[in-house]
């Protein structure tokens, strides 16, 4: 009997020792993940820059990952100025994510009531560190300088990911671009599901003879008078991407390697890749504009667009591309560009609040039962006088 009890007790002790070891081991190996909120009101911070300054650290040493989560309602008065992410130490898992969610998140159409970085500084967001992920933001660059103006400047920062974001500029300074990667090292910088409009150039890889460079997948580029994509000496791969009303799809003097670029849709009459075989077999040239309403910044695909259903499935490369900029699932036949036409019965696209756009209805007389109703998903405005 006593042996039986002793066996039980020994077994129990062994069990709990093993459990303790498992718990300690899992604790020791787990990266702590902390999230700080950025809100116009009621959050930890009101600006990304303040959060960046407060938590600037060696994440690798502290074995932690940070998320700066932007949420809630914003207005044009809340726009953030220039941001610099620099002076950190990160790796692939102990990294910094800046993400806008919910009503703050960018969609296929510019929305004044979503969070935006809007600045007159030369660079809207400077990223000087590896492994930074930027997701779901709006950037409106309005610096009045003559040249070299950037939306996001990956200035020495490598392996940066920019996704589900909307970049606009109305200054068109030459040699400027929405996203620039300078001095890339090992690992790719990724530009995924992004809309870029009214810039001289969309994406520039100034890689300084260091490869690899940038993956531009499922992006939408519109009205870029110089080029859509330009690379100095690094590689750039462009897939499933729309480039309309651009000076050229590629830079004029590329010294680059357009590794397996294909399935692109452009108004340009041709795309001549350099040192790239096979590339471009499925590109579509001299195409008509596939978008719903570019004048009002709406880059959803028109129903029946030629850019729909002709892309290539990139799930194997980046799992985050299985949804579009709105978070809508891509169906079996991927569309080209940042926006995926929803299948019949699917979730409708988000409707923006264009509060800043003036509505003028002149020369009419209204009364209580004769009126004009202006409806949106967010509000209904009844005009009775």
């Amino acid at each position: 009997m006593s042996n039986h009890y002793e066996d039980n007790a020994t077994g129990e002790i062994v069990f709990w020792i093993l459990m303790l070891i498992v718990i300690l081991a899992s604790t020791a190996s787990a990266v702590s993940v902390r999230t700080y909120t950025i809100k116009a009101s009621g959050g930890d911070y009101t600006t990304v820059q303040a959060a960046e300054t407060a938590h600037n650290q060696a994440l690798t040493t502290n074995d932690s990952a940070l998320t700066f989560e932007i949420s809630g309602a914003w207005t044009g008065n809340d726009y953030e100025g220039a941001i610099t992410i620099a002076g950190w130490t990160m790796d692939t898992t102990r990294n910094l994510i800046v993400i806008a969610i919910g009503d703050s998140k960018a969609t296929h159409i510019w929305d004044v009531d979503r969070w935006a970085c809007s600045t007159g500084a030369v660079t809207s967001i400077t990223v000087s560190e590896d492994f930074v992920i930027i997701d779901g933001i709006q950037v409106w660059q309005n610096h009045s300088g003559a040249s070299y103006i950037y939306g996001i400047n990956g200035d020495g920062g490598k392996r940066m990911t920019v996704q589900n974001s909307y970049f606009r500029s109305d200054q068109r300074a030459v040699n400027s671009c929405a996203i620039r990667q300078y001095n890339t090292g090992s690992g790719w910088t990724r530009v995924l599901n992004c809309i870029i409009t009214e810039w001289p150039n969309a994406v520039i890889a100034y890689a300084n003879a260091v490869i690899p460079g940038i993956h531009v997948y499922n992006c939408t580029v519109y009205d870029c008078a110089q080029t859509a994509f330009w690379s100095n000496s690094g590689r750039m791969t462009v897939k499933n991407t729309i480039a309309m009303s651009v000076g050229n799809f590629l830079g004029a003097t590329p010294q680059n390697f357009w590794d397996t670029s294909d399935f692109n849709y452009t108004s340009d009459a041709s795309i001549t890749y350099t040192s790239c075989t096979p590339c471009g077999a499925n590109d579509l040239y001299s195409q008509a504009d596939p978008h719903t309403d570019t004048v009002n910044g709406d880059f959803s695909l028109k129903t029946g667009s030629d850019a729909a259903e002709v892309g290539v499935d990139l799930t194997g490369r980046y799992s985050m591309l299985t949804v579009d900029i709105n978070g809508t699932d891509r169906d079996a036949n991927w569309d080209i560009g940042a926006h995926e036409l929803a299948a019949a019965g699917g979730d409708p696209d988000p409707v923006p609040n264009r509060r800043r756009q003036q509505l003028r209805i002149l020369g009419y007389i209204f009364d209580s039962d004769k009126y004009v109703a202006v409806q949106s998903a967010k509000r209904t405005l009844w005009l009775t006088s």
Partner: protein, 189 residues
């Protein structure tokens, strides 16, 4: 007659006093025109660089980049209008908020400009290429102001208000020429 005159005098005196007090209270409550609040870094950077290191050109350029990367105590992070609704963590120990009556947003926004070396072109590659953006901020407040703001917060939880003149006396512009001279001297050694 004398009594009624005194009553009238007292009543007038009373209402004058009430009016003056009301104006004073309203003036203190109403946001003054052209007033801003500055979110200022109060802590030292976690990886403060003490001085330019001995070493190769690459070391020096790396140091320069680090110096640019880091924000430092006393540098102004964000400028907002008076009465701004700051976030829950936008205060000590990481930050202090300095109220600056009499300054406009346009005037105060210069304090968040970067220290840029405009003589450096944006074309990398040359051996002696200095980084164009030398520091994140061109200006910083003296330590005494940060210490005062932290002390006041510790005592009564309020933020420090300084006049424009006081602020101008306590804010310092980094010396680009001196920084460049040090770097160039090091590059040539």
């Amino acid at each position: 007659m004398k009594r009624s005159t005194k009553k009238l005098t007292d009543r007038i005196t009373f209402w004058v006093a009430v009016t003056i007090a009301t104006i004073g209270i309203l003036a203190s409550l109403a946001p003054s025109a052209n007033s801003v609040e500055l979110l200022v870094q109060a802590k030292q950077n976690w990886a403060r660089v003490a001085d330019i290191p001995e070493g190769t050109t690459q070391d020096t350029l790396a140091w320069l980049r680090d110096m640019w990367s880091q924000t430092h105590r006393g540098e102004i992070v964000v400028v907002k209008p008076d009465g701004f609704n700051w976030g829950g963590m936008e205060g000590p120990p990481n930050f202090v908020i300095i109220n600056l009556p009499g300054a406009t947003m346009e005037q105060a926004n210069k304090y968040v400009l970067s220290l840029v070396d405009s003589s450096v072109t944006d074309t990398p590659g040359a051996v002696e290429t200095l980084h164009r953006n030398v520091k994140q901020r061109r200006w910083h407040f003296k330590k005494v102001l940060i210490d005062s703001a932290l002390a006041q917060f510790a005592i009564d939880g309020t933020r420090l208000t300084v006049t424009n003149q006081q602020a101008l006396a306590l804010i310092v512009e980094y010396d680009l020429v001196a920084i460049k001279a040090k770097i160039i001297a090091r590059l040539r050694n």
